[in-house]
């Protein structure tokens, strides 16, 4: 059993799916800061995917600061210091843009979109952060 939930879908690069699954597990508290990540080999076995693919996902997550690697003892979920506001903005901006465009296409107002986000957040991520 892996400490994060993932259902591999064909079509999208698998390493991107792993990156997203781990980020989601960290965001929902399924993976806590300081938790040890399973080794590349274990993840690769569990998902039946090429270890190079898993390694690529782990490297990406380490580069983005989601995981921290301790030489000799593997990867851990990084303690999250708040990233600078500017950095957070630049990471989210394209996603917000996409969300706004899509909701406009579906005839949603910004207020309705915010309400949907709030509801989704409460249902899936609790309301403690």
């Amino acid at each position: 059993m892996l400490p994060f939930t993932i259902q591999i879908q064909l079509g999208e690069p698998i390493y991107e799916q792993i990156v997203r699954a781990v980020k989601k597990a960290v965001a929902t508290g399924q993976l806590l800061p300081g938790a040890q990540m399973p080794s590349v080999r274990v993840i690769s076995r569990e998902l039946s995917v090429n270890p190079n693919t898993v390694q690529k996902a782990i490297s990406r997550l380490t580069d983005e600061g989601v995981l921290a690697s301790h030489p000799g003892s593997g990867s851990f979920v990084a303690e999250r210091g708040p990233s600078p506001r500017a950095e957070r903005l630049s990471a989210l901006k394209p996603l917000i843009e996409q969300l706004l465009v899509e909701s406009a296409h579906h005839g949603l107002t910004a207020d309705e979109l915010l309400e949907l986000i709030r509801q989704h957040h409460q249902r899936n991520y609790g309301n403690d952060h």
Binding site: L10, G11, E12, P13, R41, R45, N50, P51, K56
Partner: protein, 299 residues
């Protein structure tokens, strides 16, 4: 990085037909390469030339830097090979065949053999000639892997296996990737399995190289695009494959997609709603094969 397989301008003619034409490819150590193509595209011919089983008419190829025409026993002791119609000594039982083959490889790994036996569920006491096709393929795989080859060459290994056996087979092949020095080169039609196993993809058609790149880059440059709502006809470019239009709905596959593609489309068709979706390797393969067929109709 060390190059495990190398082919330079490889060519083979059967009668008047080019089975393989000016094919060049290379496989670095530590990577799995899927070799795809339609029936009769030249996959098996290429693999047989790589393995030194048939002689190329032009060009050359090598395994571990050793010309495929002059592979030495020590090169074979590093190479596991399973072909679609593997010939096994079928008067032996599985047990006898394993005992016999293990003597040929100094690096034969007995505990790994046991592990593979258990995982694949191979009947040991039955004569090979009485085994089913799936059992024979699994036995061939065990014989090709238990000595922990550095290079595994598989020609259509999944053909005709049921989904359960295929998934066991895939897991088993992945075992090889957990050792230090490994490379895998495999041809298949079961493109869905490729996405989990392959780092690189090589596609040939009519003996000619169509695609040779990493799976990630291939998946990143192919997108299905849907335009809905009244819009001007699309400008057909080489990157646009399989364009279809029904009334106000155009659909095609873009083979060189990037962020600019979308911006350009939105600028040219501001009146339409544009949907972009990722597609599986199978859909990429089909789009490429259809496109090739239209451009090079078979006589």
């Amino acid at each position: 990085m060390e190059t495990i397989i190398e082919a330079r301008n490889l060519g083979k003619r059967y009668r008047q037909k080019d089975a393989v034409h000016a094919l060049s490819l290379s496989l670095p150590a530590g990577r799995a390469c899927a070799f795809l193509g339609r029936n009769g595209a030249g996959k098996t011919t290429t693999i047989k030339m790589l393995a030194g089983l048939i002689r190329p008419d032009s060009g050359s190829c090598s395994l571990f830097g050793q010309d495929s025409q002059h592979l030495r026993p020590e090169d074979w002791q590093k190479t596991g090979y399973v072909s679609e119609n593997q010939e096994l000594y079928d008067w032996m039982t599985g047990e006898q065949l394993i005992a016999f083959t293990s003597k040929l490889y100094p690096s034969w790994d007995k505990p790994f053999e046991k592990e593979l036996l258990e995982k694949l569920g191979i009947p040991l006491r039955r004569r090979v000639s009485f085994c089913s096709r799936g059992e024979k393929v699994k036995l061939a795989l065990l014989l090709a892997m238990a000595f922990r080859p550095r290079l595994l060459i598989l020609d259509e290994p999944f053909a005709g296996l049921d989904p359960l056996v295929r998934s066991e087979f895939l897991d088993t092949v992945l075992e090889i990737t957990h050792q230090n020095d490994w490379s895998i080169f495999f041809s298949t039609h079961d493109v869905d399995d490729v996405e989990k196993l392959a780092d690189d993809v090589v596609i040939i058609d009519e003996g000619r190289l169509q695609v040779s790149e990493s799976l990630d880059s291939l998946q990143n440059r192919f997108r299905r695009i849907d335009l809905q709502g009244p819009h001007e006809p699309l400008m057909k470019t080489a990157a646009i494959l399989g364009l279809e239009r029904h009334a106000d709905h155009s659909r095609f596959i873009h083979s060189a997609f990037n962020s600019e593609t979308l911006a350009t489309l939105e600028a040219n068709h501001s009146e339409a709603h544009i949907d972009v979706s990722t597609i599986s390797l199978k859909e990429i393969f089909i789009a490429l094969a259809k496109n090739f067929q239209t451009e090079n109709p078979r006589s």
